[in-house]
């Protein structure tokens, strides 16, 4: 999550620095200084290993193996290709950045759309559950004990437990619905 949140900023920064004539190592060093979360930490480790004598190519290959998100893998792969085959990294980064930005805009619009009906959904569930449970809880007191042919009045103490349990599950259901506000967050 942290990787995918920061990756676009890293690509844009690399694009700006490399496009202005700064070398790849100096660019990695700049990002390693901090401000880009886990990617800064990874780059910092990479710089440390390079200064310890490990070739950049080997370090990038190790990193490629460890990284989890697609965007991050693509970035490391682009860097690796530049080191091994001298490819045009700036052009590739610009394309990657453009595509990611487009994806991010789409993800935000989708997020906004998906949360459109959330207030009404939560209210509906929050209403239906308690109304049914309120009736269940009150019924034993509404029925006269002498006229009770169903025997429901004998279950009055148990009804309280049923109501509490029902309310707990209603709340749990509402939390699960509301959780999409967190899980589908595109991260800005």
């Amino acid at each position: 999550m942290d990787e995918s949140r920061e990756i676009l900023y890293v690509i844009r920064t690399m694009d700006v620095l490399l496009g202005s004539g700064v070398g790849l190592e100096a660019t990695i060093h700049s990002i390693a200084q901090g401000g880009y979360g886990i990617i800064s930490d990874d780059f910092n480790k990479l710089m440390g290993n390079i200064q310890g004598g490990t070739p950049l190519e080997k370090e990038l290959r190790n990193m490629l193996r460890d990284c989890e998100t697609d965007g991050y893998k693509r970035l490391i792969n682009t860097m690796l290709n530049n080191v091994t085959q001298n490819t045009d990294i700036i052009e590739t980064l610009r394309k990657q950045g453009g595509r990611m930005e487009e994806e991010r805009s789409k993800a935000v619009k989708k997020y906004i759309e998906e949360l459109g009906g959330l207030p009404e959904t939560l209210l509906s569930i929050g209403m239906i559950g308690p109304i049914i449970l309120a009736i269940v809880g009150i019924i034993p007191q509404l029925i006269d004990k002498d006229a009770d042919i169903t025997g429901v009045t004998e279950y009055a103490p148990m009804m309280n437990l049923v109501v509490s349990g029902g309310l707990f599950f209603t709340l749990l259901f509402m939390i699960m619905i509301g959780l999409k506000a967190h899980t589908k967050d595109p991260g800005l």
Partner: protein
């Protein structure tokens, strides 16, 4: 009626306890809100500042001169911070003044830009182009952040209004009309369960709204007060409807 409400609170002390925490929470929640508003003002001003700096640099001015003219032009928080930075740069190095400026804004966007600028200055790179690119990038990012906030704000408020106010009022009136205390209904345990449910619902609603707007941390301060409000509305609503 007032005595009935007080009596009701006496038998539900949790509402009073949560309310006390709620008042403290509101006090704690205001500074992060002010801070966020200040930070967003700075971030929304950032692309324009970068563009102006880029134009000035391309016109042949030095970075300090460009910043000086931007500091004079910008009347917002960013301008005043920039003026302070330039004054500070007379007594210390320009680099440290820039770093100090970035930390004073408390904005990750500004900190990234300043860090990038320092690297570009070290590498003697063309600052005009870099600033122009950054300006466009951050403008797009801020537009997206503002769009998200504008479009989700209404829904976030709706969630809070529905779950913290609407729902407890509705259920309280239904229960109050069908099973009023005045007719001998014994609903103490029932009310405890329902008031806890509405408190939890309110807490959840505030947390969801905060998450939707991307400001969960600062919204958490307001969870207790909304919980107490929802619980009180339910218990009070029942008394009103049942009297």
């Amino acid at each position: 009626m007032i005595f009935d409400l007080m009596e009701m609170l006496r038998s539900e002390p949790l509402v009073l306890i949560i309310f006390t925490f709620g008042v403290a929470g509101v006090m704690g929640g205001i500074p992060p809100m002010i801070e966020r508003s200040r930070r967003r003002n700075i971030e929304n001003d950032l692309p324009a500042m970068l563009e102006a700096l880029s134009d000035s640099l391309k016109a042949g001015l030095g970075l300090q001169q460009a910043m000086q003219s931007e500091a004079e032009r910008n009347a917002g928080v960013l301008g005043s911070l920039l003026r302070a930075t330039l004054e500070e740069s007379h007594t210390s190095s320009f680099d440290s003044a820039l770093a100090n400026f970035a930390s004073k804004t408390r904005s990750s966007q500004v900190q990234r830009v300043m860090h990038l600028l320092s690297t570009a200055i070290e590498q003697d790179s063309p600052l005009g182009d870099i600033l122009a690119n950054l300006s466009m990038d951050y403008e797009r990012l801020n537009d997206l952040m503002n769009q998200r906030e504008e479009e989700l704000m209404g829904r976030a408020i709706l969630i809070i209004l529905f779950l913290c106010l609407g729902l407890p009022i509705l259920i309280a009136f239904i229960v109050g009309l069908f099973a009023p205390e005045s007719k001998g209904f014994q609903l103490d345990g029932f009310h405890s369960s329902f008031s806890l449910f509405f408190g939890a619902c309110a807490g959840m609603a505030v947390a969801i709204s905060g998450r939707m707007l991307g400001r969960l941390g600062s919204m958490l301060w307001f969870v207790p007060i909304w919980m107490a409000t929802a619980m009180f509305i339910y218990l009070g609503g029942y008394q009103v409807a049942g009297s």
